[in-house]
């Protein structure tokens, strides 16, 4: 039932002379939550940003290797990163709602990509996205208020709604709960579990409990290497590599 969504083969990333990702090969599965864990600076966020070509915006960044989504090379000349990013949504570490109304925040993507032709359809997309992001009840009476007026946890769910609204196939999350309190974190985690039924979700996290709670697959990164990749339960109960074991038992990191 699980099939490969994004297949990565021998991916290397350089920032100038800095070799940030070293020969990483990993298959990201569809309708699965994959967690990237590892100490700070290990390259997990860098690798995440390869999957929607956000690294293209950094001029000193160079990427080699093959990244195939549904068998198609996303770094091929024929692929426009702008179109790709509509298919691979991203949620950032710090909530970054636009200084626009809550409605316009969610409507931004669909409008740009021309996903809807009329106001009624747009209203529907906005409502559906906010519902899926489990924030509709809290904001349905204040859709015209600024997105920045919400609390941190609400802002992050708004950003998730915004990412969902463009109907992506993959959702990348870069430490989506690290700036939130435990209650908001629990809400986000519940939401991630919901999203798994429709999307392939990749989450970078510093919290091993979070990785254990929300993911089915876990990859451990260390100093640019992907050390170990497997079922989350396996990684946490029976790691093969010494470095993985040291990290998950808290001996370094």
């Amino acid at each position: 039932m699980t099939n490969v969504k994004i297949s990565n083969r021998h991916v290397d990333v350089y920032y100038g002379d800095n070799h940030a990702i070293k020969d990483v090969s990993i298959d990201i599965l569809d309708k699965t939550v994959t967690a990237f864990i590892g100490p700070s600076g290990c390259g997990k966020s860098t690798f995440l940003r390869c999957l929607n070509r956000m690294n293209d915006t950094i001029s000193s960044c160079r990427i080699t290797g093959d990244i195939l989504m549904d068998g198609e090379d996303i770094y091929a000349k024929s692929v426009d990163p702008v179109q790709l990013r509509a298919r691979v949504g991203m949620v950032f570490q710090k909530p970054n709602p636009f200084p626009k109304s809550i409605y316009d925040n969610v409507a931004y993507g669909p409008k740009i990509h021309g996903l809807v032709d009329n106001k009624t359809d747009l209203d529907e997309v906005v409502e559906l996205s906010l519902k899926r992001a489990a924030i509709w009840k809290e904001v349905k009476d204040r859709l015209n208020e600024s997105g920045t007026s919400l609390s941190g946890g609400q802002q992050q769910r708004l950003c998730i709604a915004r990412a969902i609204a463009t109907a992506p196939e993959v959702l990348l999350m870069d430490e989506p709960a690290s700036a939130l309190d435990p209650i908001a974190t629990a809400q986000i985690e519940e939401l991630i579990d919901e999203l798994r039924h429709q999307y392939s979700v990749v989450i970078v996290t510093h919290s091993m409990q979070q990785a254990a709670r929300v993911s089915q697959k876990t990859a451990f990164f260390h100093m640019g290497d992907m050390v170990e990749y497997g079922d989350t339960t396996e990684i946490f109960t029976n790691p093969v590599d010494q470095r993985t074991q040291d990290y998950i038992t808290g001996r370094f990191g």
Binding site: T57, R85, P99, I112, R162
Partner: protein, 399 residues
């Protein structure tokens, strides 16, 4: 002698600084940890007292003008007495830091006060002189504001002006027309330059364009003035001739264009700062949704920077309204009520210059000059208030 007296104040202040410091150390039996305040604060406290009392005495003494030797004696004596007073009570428990900081706060407050008081003084003198002038017109303020003829000195009789010849409408129209022309040039170019600098230029290009813009913003307006009069105005006239348009050798257009060029650097430099301060996370958020760079700039970055861009524009408008030199040289001095930018016009600031530098008795010329200045002040004040309200209304808080 005054110089010597001043020097003696500084010398005494330094002397008592050290004296207090040493006393504080000995009061603590040489162990610094026993002191409430560090020895340097004890020194600072004495220094400030000696210095302030000395300077105050010197200023008061200079006004009373006694014999220089007496002045010296009194000032030095007072300073020394205060110095001894501050050093006598030093114990380990003396809260010298708090006391010294309170004095420093007072000095800072006084400096801020000077700026505010000066402004209030200027406004009061404007109001006062304007009041007198309007009184001499028999309170025909309507003729002043809406009269179409400006020739205040031609209707002078026994130092009183003819209300029919002090209409500022031509000056107002001239000012607004030149400002409008300047902004039509400067607003789009300045904004687009700022967008290029902040969103597209490489670090290297930005590194030398930005300082250059700031240097450009510092060129004296006189230089732009003769550039306008000697290069731009003839060029416009000849171009106009080609198309059968009659453009005067002094025209609102020439002055407006050059003022526009002059304020481009200020607008783009300020707007660039504002656009740069839009958090990168917003750009990333937009790009990650599959927006192009253009869409991101148009729909996210510019709206977020709008209040700041607006105030950059208003700074440009204020500078255009207040500009004098370029207008004197390129737009003319004759008060001419026209809506045609190809003709010579004059502005409020230029007429103030004409009145004050002319042959007329200063007390006669001051009335209309101050009234013009007051009008100008009101216009820029309203602009500033509007700007502040807009900025406050649309300001977004980023953390």
């Amino acid at each position: 002698m005054t110089f010597l007296t001043a020097l003696s104040i500084v010398a005494l202040a330094v002397l008592f600084y050290n004296f207090s410091r040493i006393r504080a150390i000995s009061a603590a039996n040489g162990v610094q940890a026993n002191l409430h305040s560090r020895p340097s604060y004890h020194g600072l406290y004495s220094f400030l007292w000696v210095f302030l009392v000395g300077v105050t005495a010197l200023i008061i003494g200079s006004i009373l003008t006694p014999h220089p030797m007496v002045l010296f004696g009194v000032v030095a004596g007072l300073s020394a007495a205060v110095g001894i007073w501050t050093t006598r009570g030093i114990t380990a428990e003396t809260r010298a830091r708090n006391k010294a900081e309170r004095i420093v706060t007072g000095i800072l407050w006084a400096c801020a006060g000077v700026a505010v008081l000066t402004t209030i003084g200027i406004i009061l003198s404007l109001v006062f002189e304007t009041y007198n002038f309007f009184e001499s017109l028999g309170w025909r303020v309507d003729k002043f504001l809406f009269g179409t003829r400006w020739s205040p000195l031609s209707g002078l009789q026994d130092g009183v002006m003819d209300p029919d010849r002090v209409g500022i409408l031509p000056l107002m129209v001239g000012t607004l027309m030149i400002t409008a022309i300047a902004m039509i040039i400067a607003a789009p170019i300045g904004l687009l330059a700022a967008i290029y600098l902040s969103e597209f230029a490489s670090q290297r290009v930005r590194g030398w364009v930005k300082p250059m813009l700031e240097v450009l913003a510092g060129i004296p307006t006189v230089v732009y003035g003769f550039f306008a009069a000697i290069t731009v105005a003839p060029l416009l006239r000849e171009t106009g001739d080609l198309f059968g348009l009659k453009i005067a050798s002094e025209s609102a257009l020439a002055a407006g264009i050059v003022i526009g060029i002059m304020i481009i650097p200020s607008i783009s430099s300020l707007a660039d700062d504002v656009i740069n301060s839009v958090p990168q996370s917003l750009r990333d958020g937009s790009l990650a949704l599959g927006a192009t760079k253009a869409e991101t700039i148009r729909q996210v970055v510019i709206p977020a920077a709008l209040p700041g861009i607006f105030s950059a524009m208003l700074l440009g408008v204020s500078r255009a309204i207040g500009e004098t030199m370029i207008v004197v040289m390129a737009a003319g001095q004759g008060a001419n009520l026209t809506a045609n930018p190809f003709e010579a016009v004059t502005t409020i600031t230029v007429q103030i210059v004409m009145l004050i530098t002319g042959d007329t008795d200063a007390s006669t010329a001051a009335g209309p000059a101050f009234s013009l200045a007051f009008t100008l002040f009101c216009v820029t004040l309203v602009l500033n208030i509007v700007a502040m309200r807009v900025v406050r209304k649309y300001r977004e808080a980023y953390d």
